[in-house]
C-alpha cells in the first residue's frame, strides 16, 4: 500500500485526541504503514456476501437478556469526586470549553 503521509498520521492523531511530536509522527508513519499493509492481505479472501461477525457467542443465545431496568445503589459523590483531577464544589473542573481555546 501507499505509505501514509505525515499529514495523514497527524489527521489520525487528531481524531484519536493524541498530541504527537514530529518524531512520533515520523515513527508512527512507518509502523502504521507496515501494520496496515499487513492487514491488506484480508482483501484476497472471498468476503463477498459474508455477514460480518461482531460478537462471537451472542448471536444464537436466546437466553441473553438485559437485567431489569431498576436503579441500584449509587457510589457516594465524594468517592467519585475524589477520582477527578480537579473539582470545584460539587463539580468537576475543566479548562474553558467555549470561545478562544475551546474545542467547540
Amino acid at each position: 500500500m501507499e505509505p501514509l503521509s505525515a499529514d495523514q498520521v497527524r489527521h489520525i492523531a487528531r481524531l484519536s485526541r493524541l498530541a504527537l511530536t514530529d518524531e512520533e509522527v515520523e515513527a508512527d508513519r512507518e509502523r502504521l504503514t507496515a501494520l496496515l499493509g499487513y492487514a491488506e492481505r484480508i482483501a484476497s479472501l472471498p468476503l463477498e456476501g459474508v455477514e460480518p461477525l461482531v460478537h462471537p457467542t451472542l448471536e444464537d443465545d436466546e437466553e441473553q437478556t438485559l437485567r431489569p431496568d431498576e436503579p441500584g445503589a449509587p457510589f457516594a459523590s465524594d468517592v467519585i469526586k475524589g477520582l477527578a483531577p480537579a473539582t470545584d464544589g460539587p463539580y468537576v473542573r475543566v479548562p474553558k470549553v467555549l470561545g478562544d481555546g475551546g474545542g467547540a
Partner: protein, 478 residues
C-alpha cells in the same frame, strides 16, 4: 501441593492461611527483581488471612479456595489499592469497587496478596510495554515471560502464588502460560463476568486463571464462572463442576492441523513438541483427525484491525476529565488541548499506536475497507473451527506460540514481529471459543532449557471436554 490440597488442609485446620500468605509475601519480596507485582497488599492480605483462620477455628467454611494466596492482574479493579493497568494514565487511580471475578475468588476464601504487572492496558505479548518496567521470566530472567498477563505468569511460575488471574484478548493468558511453563485457560466468551475488567476489546476480552496444573485451573474456573447481572454479555448457562471427573478417559477425537506450522517463523522445537503431543495422544488411544484451518493465515491481520478498533472506542473514556491523568494546560488553551496532551502523556507508545490503528480502521472512508472487511474475515475464521468440530473433532490441538520465550528487547522495536507471536492464539478470541495452554516439551536455546506449550480449543461452552483433554495431555507429559 495443589490448590485443592492446600485449601483442603486450610479447611481442615492443618494449615494456617496466615502462614501461606506470609510465605507468599516473603517470596514476592525476595523475587522483586522479576518485577511481577506493581503493588503488594501486605497488610490487607494478612488481615484477610487471619479472618479466614478465625472462621475455620469456629467451624465455618470459607469456601473451596480457603486461605489460598492469589494475585490479580492490575487491569482488574480492586476496591483496595490502585488499579493502574500498568499505565501512567491510571497511575493514581483507585477503583471504588471490586471486579466480579475478584469478588468471586474472595468469596471462595482466596486471599489477594497484590496486583501484577502487565503490558499497558493488556496490549502486548512480551510484558515489556509497562509504565512500571518489564517483567522477567522466572525460568530465565534475561527473557520475557510473555504477555500481556506477564506478572501473573511470573508470580505463579516463581512459586509466589499457586493461582493468578489474567485477561486474554488475543492470547494474553495462554501465551505467557506457555512461555513460563504453566497452564493458562481462556474460557468461552461470556463464561466469566467482565464487570470490573478495564475494557480493551469488548468482543474479545475474557478473564481466566494461570495455574500450575489443569486441575487448579479447572477449580478456579468453577469459582469464576457464572452469570452476572452487571455484565450483559455474561451467559446465563449453568456452571458445571469443571474440576470433577478430569481423569475420565473416554473416547476423544483430536483435530490436528500441521499446515499451521508451515512458516519460517515457527521454531523447530515447536514442531517437535507438536508432533510428540500428537504421537503421545495417539498412543493413548485418542483418535487423531487431520483438519483444515486455512483461514488462520488471516487471523492476525483481522485481529489487529478489530482489537484496535474496539480499543480506540474503549480508551476514549480516558480524557483527563473525571479520572486518570490530566496534563497541565496553559492560560488560553482549552479542553481540546487538555484531552490531546493528557492522552499523549498518559499512554505509552504501544497503546497510542493501537488507538491510532483502530481510529483509522473505523474512520470515515476506511471503515468498510478495514473494520467491516476484518469482521467478515472473522466469520470465515470462526466457520473454519465450526467445520472441524462438526466433522467430528471434540477438541483441536495447535501449538500455543511459534517459539519459546525471547530475550527482553529482542522484538520490542518491531510491532509486526511481536503481533505474529499471537498467530496461534487470536483465533479462539475471534471465534469466542474456550482454549487452554498446557506445558508440553522444551526448547534448548543458548544453553537454556525453555518451556513450550500446546494449545487445545473446544466448541463454545465445552470447558469440561477441553479440561479433560488438557488433563490427558498433562498426564502424558512433555
Amino acid at each position: 501441593m495443589s490448590l485443592k490440597q492446600t485449601s483442603e488442609r486450610v479447611r481442615a485446620g492443618a494449615q494456617r492461611s496466615v502462614e501461606l500468605v506470609e510465605a507468599a509475601l516473603k517470596a514476592a519480596s525476595e523475587q522483586k527483581s522479576l518485577n511481577a507485582f506493581i503493588d503488594l497488599h501486605s497488610d490487607r492480605a494478612r488481615a484477610r488471612a487471619t479472618e479466614v483462620d478465625k472462621r475455620i477455628a469456629i467451624g465455618d467454611d470459607p469456601g473451596p479456595l480457603a486461605g489460598v494466596p492469589v494475585a490479580i492482574k492490575d487491569n482488574l479493579c480492586t476496591a483496595h489499592g490502585r488499579t493502574t493497568c500498568a499505565s501512567r494514565m491510571l497511575e493514581h487511580y483507585r477503583s471504588p469497587f471490586d471486579a466480579t471475578a475478584v469478588a468471586r475468588l474472595e468469596s471462595a476464601g482466596a486471599v489477594v496478596i497484590g496486583k501484577t504487572n502487565l503490558d499497558e492496558f493488556a496490549m502486548g505479548s512480551c510484558g515489556e510495554h509497562s509504565a512500571f518496567g518489564a517483567t522477567r521470566n522466572p525460568r530465565d530472567p534475561e527473557r520475557v515471560p510473555g504477555g500481556s498477563s506477564s506478572g501473573s505468569a511470573a508470580a505463579v511460575a516463581a512459586g509466589i502464588v499457586p493461582l493468578a488471574l489474567g485477561s486474554d484478548t488475543g492470547g494474553s493468558i495462554r501465551q505467557p502460560a506457555a512461555l513460563c511453563g504453566l497452564v493458562g485457560l481462556k474460557p468461552t466468551y461470556g463464561r466469566v463476568s467482565r464487570w470490573g475488567l478495564v475494557a480493551f476489546a469488548s468482543s474479545l476480552d475474557q478473564i481466566g486463571p494461570l495455574a500450575e496444573s489443569v486441575e487448579d485451573a479447572a477449580l478456579a474456573l468453577s469459582v469464576l464462572a457464572g452469570h452476572d447481572d452487571r455484565d450483559a454479555t455474561s451467559a446465563r448457562r449453568e456452571v458445571e463442576p469443571y474440576h470433577e471427573g478430569l481423569d475420565d478417559t473416554g473416547e476423544l477425537t483430536v483435530g490436528v492441523c500441521r499446515g499451521l506450522l508451515d512458516s519460517d517463523a515457527v521454531h523447530p522445537s515447536v514442531r517437535v513438541s507438536y508432533e510428540s503431543a500428537i504421537d503421545a495422544l495417539a498412543a493413548d488411544g485418542v483418535t487423531i483427525r487431520e483438519i483444515e484451518l486455512g483461514m488462520n493465515a488471516h487471523a492476525v491481520a483481522a485481529y489487529y484491525l478489530i482489537a484496535p478498533a474496539e480499543a480506540s472506542a474503549n480508551l476514549a473514556r480516558f480524557d483527563g476529565v473525571r479520572y486518570g491523568h490530566r496534563a497541565r494546560v496553559e492560560q488560553g488553551e482549552g479542553l481540546e488541548a487538555m484531552y490531546a496532551r493528557s492522552r499523549a502523556e498518559g499512554f505509552g507508545p504501544e497503546v497510542k499506536r493501537r488507538i491510532m490503528l483502530g481510529t483509522h480502521a473505523l474512520s470515515s472512508g476506511y471503515h468498510d475497507e478495514f473494520y467491516i472487511r476484518a469482521s467478515r474475515a472473522r466469520r470465515l475464521i470462526a466457520d473454519d473451527y465450526a467445520r472441524a468440530f462438526d466433522g467430528g473433532a471434540d477438541v483441536i490441538l495447535t501449538p500455543t506460540t511459534p517459539g519459546p520465550a525471547f530475550r527482553i528487547g529482542e522484538k520490542s522495536s518491531d510491532p509486526l514481529a511481536l503481533y505474529l507471536e499471537d498467530v496461534f492464539t487470536v483465533g479462539a478470541n475471534l471465534a469466542g471459543l474456550p482454549a487452554i495452554s498446557v506445558p508440553f516439551g522444551t526448547a534448548e536455546v543458548d544453553g537454556s532449557e525453555l518451556p513450550l506449550g500446546v494449545q487445545l480449543l473446544a466448541p463454545a461452552w465445552q470447558e469440561r471436554t477441553l479440561l479433560r483433554a488438557a488433563r490427558r495431555i498433562e498426564r502424558l507429559g512433555g
